[in-house]
């Protein structure tokens, strides 16, 4: 069922077609148009949004239903499964984050399950959903939301905002900007630097620490995006191989289960670690 076999497409066209989001935006005259939106910031990637929100809704409904019917007695199979996930997240949070914050654990749960589900879309053979969409008259469809940098950046920037918020809240503006960004890693007081040179040391520290701070959301989102994008690209390339794709697809899919899980776990763990760093005074 590979679209490459339709003949009209070259391999390059096939790959590019698969890597294009379904977009909608307003043109200069104010009309809503599909797919000719490059360069327009106000375009929306409809496929990424729809799939991520659908998966989020699925998880919310599932979890809230389990939560509503949960019993302390003998749990059902689904409740037991959700409990395992919750306990896993709770242990991860407790092992890393020692402050008091009612938001970290639910945030971690949301992040890990949601990213996992979005990553898991990668295991649906690359042509199935686009083929159905094509039959329904939709030109482009990218089914894995985490291969869209908008999605990963949105999540990592949200985490970044929380990092800044809690850094300022816990340490105060002076404590965070001066104490954490300017007096680290080279502390002029400990090094015995004369007062006159302090501004230079502090400026050096500030540049270094700011880069390190900005690297957090950037690496968080690009790691996830890069892994999933590369995995998706591998699936697309394998899909070009004709019958040979069957064993290769199987092999890559099995390996990809690991990546899917690992990336979701890493995203959650780093979120917890960054937020616990924001809560701890150095």
């Amino acid at each position: 069922m590979s679209m490459a076999s339709e003949g009209a497409q070259t391999s390059a066209e096939y790959i590019q077609h698969h890597l294009k989001n379904l977009q909608v935006c307003q043109n200069e005259t104010g009309d809503w148009i599909w797919n000719h939106c490059s360069g327009n910031f106000w375009a929306i990637n409809v496929d990424s949004m729809v799939f991520s929100v659908l998966l989020g809704l699925f998880l919310s409904v599932l979890f809230s239903r389990i939560a509503k019917n949960a019993t302390t007695g003998r749990p059902g199979k689904m409740q037991a499964f959700v409990e395992i996930v919750i306990e896993f997240v709770n242990d991860s949070v407790k092992g890393t984050f020692h402050g008091k914050n009612a938001m970290i654990a639910p945030l971690a749960l949301t992040v890990v399950t949601w990213v996992f589900m979005m990553n898991l879309m990668d295991l649906i053979p690359v042509d199935w959903l686009p083929f159905v969409a094509h039959a329904a008259g939709v030109e482009y469809l990218k089914v894995v939301p985490t291969t869209d940098p908008n999605i990963t950046f949105a999540m990592s920037l949200s985490v970044f905002v929380l990092i800044l918020f809690y850094s300022f809240k816990i340490k105060g503006i002076g404590g965070f900007v001066i104490g954490e960004l300017m007096m680290n890693p080279l502390n002029p007081r400990d090094l015995g630097v004369p007062k006159i040179f302090w501004p230079f040391v502090c400026a050096f520290n500030f540049i270094l620490e700011t880069v390190a701070l900005l690297a957090k959301p950037l690496s968080l989102s690009l790691r996830l995006f890069g892994n999933m994008y590369a995995g998706e690209l591998m699936f697309i390339l394998i899909a070009l191989l004709g019958f040979l794709q069957l064993p290769l697809h199987f092999g890559w899919a099995v390996f990809h289960i690991l990546i899917v899980t690992l990336q979701a776990y890493i995203f959650m763990m780093l979120t917890i670690v960054y937020l616990s760093q924001a809560h701890e005074a150095h």
């Binding site: 910031f41 979890f63 940098p149 949105a154």
Partner: protein, 156 residues
């Protein structure tokens, strides 16, 4: 691959889902898990307490049984002693009574014999007087020889 408003849309979606999870998923589920953990540890503690009290009860039971056995033995011993005493007492009483009855009988017999002897003595005296009267009725006056007759009656 350019960044666009999807960023904002996804941020809003994430805020909503995290808020939802914070409000409706995490607290009830974790609370439930912790409650169950408490229940399990309480159950285990209760079970341990139960088995400990069972052990205590077994010890108590043995003690009570031993005590009861001892008491029973004591009671039986007492009863045996008492029975022996009662039998001895009865025997002593019976012996005493028998001797008393025997003595009374002897006394009565003796009395009877004495009485009979007195009677006989009187009758013999009378008979002797009557005989002597018949024999020597003419010359012997009973009243003048009374002292002689009394002496005779004494000698019989």
């Amino acid at each position: 691959m350019d960044l666009n408003a999807t960023l904002i849309g996804q941020t809003i979606a994430m805020i909503v889902f995290v808020w939802f999870c914070m409000k409706f998923v995490w607290p009830p589920l974790l609370g439930m898990i912790e409650e169950r953990q408490n229940e399990i540890s309480e159950g285990l503690a209760a079970a341990e307490k139960g088995s400990r009290s069972l052990e205590l009860a077994a010890v108590e039971k043995t003690k009570l049984l031993d005590e009861a056995r001892g008491q029973a033995r004591e009671i039986i011993d007492q009863a045996n002693n008492r029975a022996g005493t009662i039998v001895d007492e009865a025997r002593t009483t019976a012996d005493g009574e028998g001797e008393r009855i025997l003595a009374a009988a002897h006394a009565e017999v003796e009395q009877e014999v004495n009485r009979a002897r007195e009677e006989l003595r009187g009758q013999v005296a009378a008979i002797a007087v009557a005989g002597a009267e018949k024999i020597i009725s003419r010359e012997i006056n009973a009243s003048t020889h009374q002292d002689l007759l009394d002496q005779l009656a004494q000698e019989i």
